[in-house]
Every structure is written in structure tokens, then in C-alpha cells.
Symmetry: C2
Subunit: 124 residues, 2 copies
């Protein structure tokens, strides 16, 4: 309904439903999930984020815009380099929404790393 490409600043003046729309549709793309995983390790410049992917820089720039408008990352211009930083707080509302449908046991980092390994091995 709301064009994910044309949303305003992350969070401000948006309903809960609109925020969930933005977060979930941002997460519904494997490239964007991979980007989030990369940013989990370290902040990165746009060009460095784009490096491992087989698509144009402009495409990655768009993906970063979508993640940014969903509030999942923040971007800070420093010189001619734009640094991208993971913002895990935006996942919180969505996570609350999901957890409420069933009680999932607490997750430890081991499970997460096994999970990531699985996703990257199978995803090609």
C-alpha cells in the first residue's frame, strides 16, 4: 500500500502498522537480510557493502535506502563516504509482535551463528 521506496524518515509520524509494513517488507529480501548480517559485524561504507554482491552499486544504494527508511540502519555522511550502521531497535516492535504468537525460548549466539551459516550456505 505504501510505496516502500518513498517513505519519510524512520519512525516519525507513522502508525505502528506502517512501521511494521516497512520493517517486514525490508526484511523480506535476501539481499537486505545479508546486508544486515554484514553490518552486525561492523559499520561499513556503501561501496564496501556493495562489494560482495553481483549487482550494481545503485541497486545496493536503493536497498540501503529501504533499510534506512525502515529504521533498521542509520547512515552518516563523513566526507564523501556514507557510513552504514545497524540499528537493532527497529526490530524490537516487530519482534514483540511476532513473539506474541507463541512463546519462543530465548536464543543464544551459538544458535544464531549456526543459523547464519545455514542461510549463507543454502542461499548461493
Amino acid at each position: 500500500m505504501i510505496p516502500v521506496d518513498e517513505l519519510q524518515e524512520p519512525g516519525l509520524n507513522r502508525t505502528m502498522s506502517e512501521r511494521l509494513d516497512a520493517v517486514f517488507s525490508a526484511l523480506a529480501d535476501p539481499t537486505r537480510r545479508a546486508i544486515l548480517s554484514m553490518l552486525l559485524e561492523d559499520d561499513m561504507a556503501v561501496t564496501d557493502v556493495a562489494a560482495p554482491f553481483e549487482m550494481s552499486l545503485a541497486a545496493i544504494s536503493k536497498h540501503l535506502g529501504i533499510l534506512s527508511r525502515a529504521g533498521l540502519i542509520s547512515q552518516e555522511q563523513r566526507g564523501r563516504v556514507k557510513w552504514c550502521k545497524l540499528e537493532p531497535d527497529a526490530l524490537r516492535d516487530a519482534s514483540i509482535w511476532m513473539q506474541s504468537f507463541g512463546q519462543f525460548e530465548a536464543v543464544n549466539l551459538d544458535a544464531f551463528e549456526k543459523f547464519l551459516a545455514l542461510e549463507f550456505r543454502e542461499d548461493g
Copy 2:
């Protein structure tokens, strides 16, 4: 990349990434999230699911198909009525993925109900 409308049975023979694609894009629509919330209270027939929405029955039927192929609900035909049942387990993998980006405190039911009230009030 994968047409969400043409996916096979929920879960079987799909990679982790494909399952996350299906679950997150299923959750990225307010109508489908509202349907899940309705099914949290009780199992429902397709017609009854469609009743509160201002769109055609066929549209709701499509939404239910998407939720079903994402594994978020199951559908059981009984006579001429198709019953829809919430399947919270499908949210588990996705929830694990999300939780790993930050430690979110445990959620209680009060928070969830306040959350739902918010979403429905603001969503129209």
C-alpha cells in the same frame, strides 16, 4: 525473486532463505497481520475471516493462500467449509533471526494487547 503467490507446500524442500522470504513478505501486509491476530483468538472459516474487511472474498482467499504457503496458518477442509488455524511455529525461525540482532527483553501479554489495540486504532 520467488513469486510469493506460486510457492509450494509450506516448509518442505525450501531453503532457510526462501522460508524467511515467505514469512517476512507474508507479514509485510496489514490485512494479513490482522488476519493472524483474528486467528489468535479462534479458528475461523474463510467467509468469517473475510467478514470484517472491506474487500472481496476472493482477495481474502488469496491472502489466506499466502499465509498458508508461508506456513503461518493451516487450512483444513471440512464439508464445504475450509477452516483456518494459526500455526505460530513458522514464526519461530524468523523470530530467532530477528532476536539475534539485539537482546530484546521478554514480552508479556499486557504489552501485546496494548500493541494490538494501537495497531487497530491507527490502522483504520
